[in-house]
């Protein structure tokens, strides 16, 4: 049993060699091509990432009509914006956004795995995949948020969303005070993936 709690000495080197060997073999056997993995990765670097979600949030902050449409039909509102094709693609087929207000704070979790809205947020950060976060977020969300540095008054209701079926949730954070003079692009630069999953607030 003790070996179960130890890591092998070459933990990362072993995995690195193994994944390299696996990819080689899959190419040799005709499962994928030489550039297939690079192709998949570049999509997330250039087209689908948290930069998309940040643009959506910034637009909602400056355009109340858009914000209303975003809250009532997230996909249709996103389709109004000038994004590359694919905002309703893999892991974005059914998106829903929930709004933080002075009285309500939303937190997204996936206790069974790591469901995450790829087109708007890209790939999930490690904290989101952490079994400890997933275990605790549903029972003690306020304590978990405090660990992330978000200290909420008890009067603020916390709504926790467990993504256990086919909808991918994200959060419309509150616009920080004192940002009236900022442009939409400057506002988008303030928005983090953490803010869009509810473990951070946006600060100017």
């Amino acid at each position: 049993m003790t070996g179960r709690f130890k890591y092998s000495e070459g933990r990362e080197a072993d995995s690195e060699a193994k994944v390299k060997a696996l990819e080689d073999l899959l190419i040799t056997k005709g499962v994928i091509g030489t550039t297939s993995v690079d192709q998949a990765l570049s999509y997330f670097e250039t087209e689908m990432g948290p930069f998309n979600g940040a643009k959506i949030v910034a637009r909602a902050w400056v355009d109340p009509g858009f914000k209303q449409r975003l809250l009532s039909d997230t996909a249709a509102a996103i389709a109004e914006l000038d994004f590359p094709p694919g905002m309703a693609g893999a892991e974005g087929e059914h998106l829903k956004i929930v709004e933080n207000t002075p009285a309500v704070h939303n937190l997204i979790v996936c206790t069974l795995c790591s469901c995450y809205p790829w087109p708007t947020l890209g790939l999930p950060p490690y904290w989101y995949k952490d079994p400890t976060f997933r275990a605790r977020a549903v029972r003690e969300p306020r304590a978990v948020l405090a660990e992330f540095g978000v200290k909420l008054e008890e009067s603020i209701e916390i709504r926790v969303w467990d993504s256990s079926a086919q909808i991918r949730w994200f959060v419309l954070p509150e616009r920080p005070a004192g940002t009236e003079a900022l442009s939409e692009v400057e506002l988008a630069a303030l928005v983090t993936p953490e803010a869009m999953m509810g473990v951070a607030q946006v600060s100017a």
Partner: protein, 257 residues
């Protein structure tokens, strides 16, 4: 019964790992990319989406590979290992085993090549251009594989209905978070139409299209006196996991009698 199905609510795990990066080692990106390729080449796409012809994609991959398949592997792990290993270490283990078990590669050749790399052999990436495979990967990422379907029957529950979450039999894979079993909630939203899950969970009950709901739970219902003040928990749940609160109460009364 699997610990992985019961994560929500486990105590004494210590602080959350606050790491904001999606990948902490460069090698992790490669196994993620392999998984995306498998999703994009999965044979289920031919039936999941109209106008899809996977047979014409020039790959030797001839299996279904969906989230359900990947998750079933993670849920089949020793629960201590599940906590011990990082996310993509689990993926690397599960996906390698899948390719070995299904006969795409042998364990011996994977071990042999891995050891060669560990001994410092220069990379020997084979050159094989498969532009149609690469194009299919982008097509899958752009189009996705929506499980939404027209409703086969009207939803059994309506907004505001009180429901009790079923305690279905344990299975290899589930989308019912364990901490909700036997708990009472209220239907907060009824999604339009129905949703398939591209992996039958057998006795657990999902796979074929069925209505999906947002069910709202109070922390007092879930955690009693341990609950934190002023929060509410919402979960997306397939209809197979729900029963009317009245029926659950009657059945409890019958078994008590």
């Amino acid at each position: 019964m699997k610990l992985q199905h019961m994560l929500g609510g486990i105590e004494n795990l210590g602080p959350v790992w606050l790491e904001p990066r999606p990948f902490v080692e460069q090698w992790e990106t490669r196994i993620f990319g392999i998984h995306v390729a498998m999703m994009a080449l999965s044979t289920h796409l031919s039936s999941a989406l109209p106008g899809y012809d996977m047979a014409s994609v020039p790959t030797t991959f001839k299996h279904e590979w969906t989230w359900g398949h990947l998750r079933t592997g993670a849920e089949a792990m020793n629960p201590f290992d599940y906590f011990k290993f990082r996310y993509y270490e689990k993926w690397l283990g599960g996906i390698s085993s899948f390719f070995i078990e299904q006969g795409y590669i042998t364990e011996a050749e994977l071990t042999e090549l891995t050891e060669r790399y560990l001994k410092g052999s220069p990379p020997t990436r084979p050159q094989k251009d498969l532009p149609a495979v690469d194009a299919q990967i982008i097509k899958y990422l752009r189009e996705g594989d929506s499980p939404a379907r027209p409703a086969p029957q009207p939803p059994a529950f309506a907004l505001g209905d009180r429901v009790v979450i079923k305690d279905v039999h344990p299975a290899a894979h589930t989308r019912l978070p364990g901490y909700l079993r036997g708990k009472q909630g209220v239907i907060d939203h009824v999604y339009d139409g129905s949703y398939a899950y591209f992996f039958s969970t057998g006795p657990d009950g999902i796979g074929a299209p069925m209505p999906v709901y947002v069910v709202k739970f109070t922390p007092e219902e879930l955690w009693g006196s341990m609950s934190e003040p002023n929060n509410v928990i919402f979960a997306d749940l397939f209809e197979a996991y729900l029963q009317p609160a009245e029926a659950a109460a009657e059945s409890a009364a019958r078994s008590a009698a």
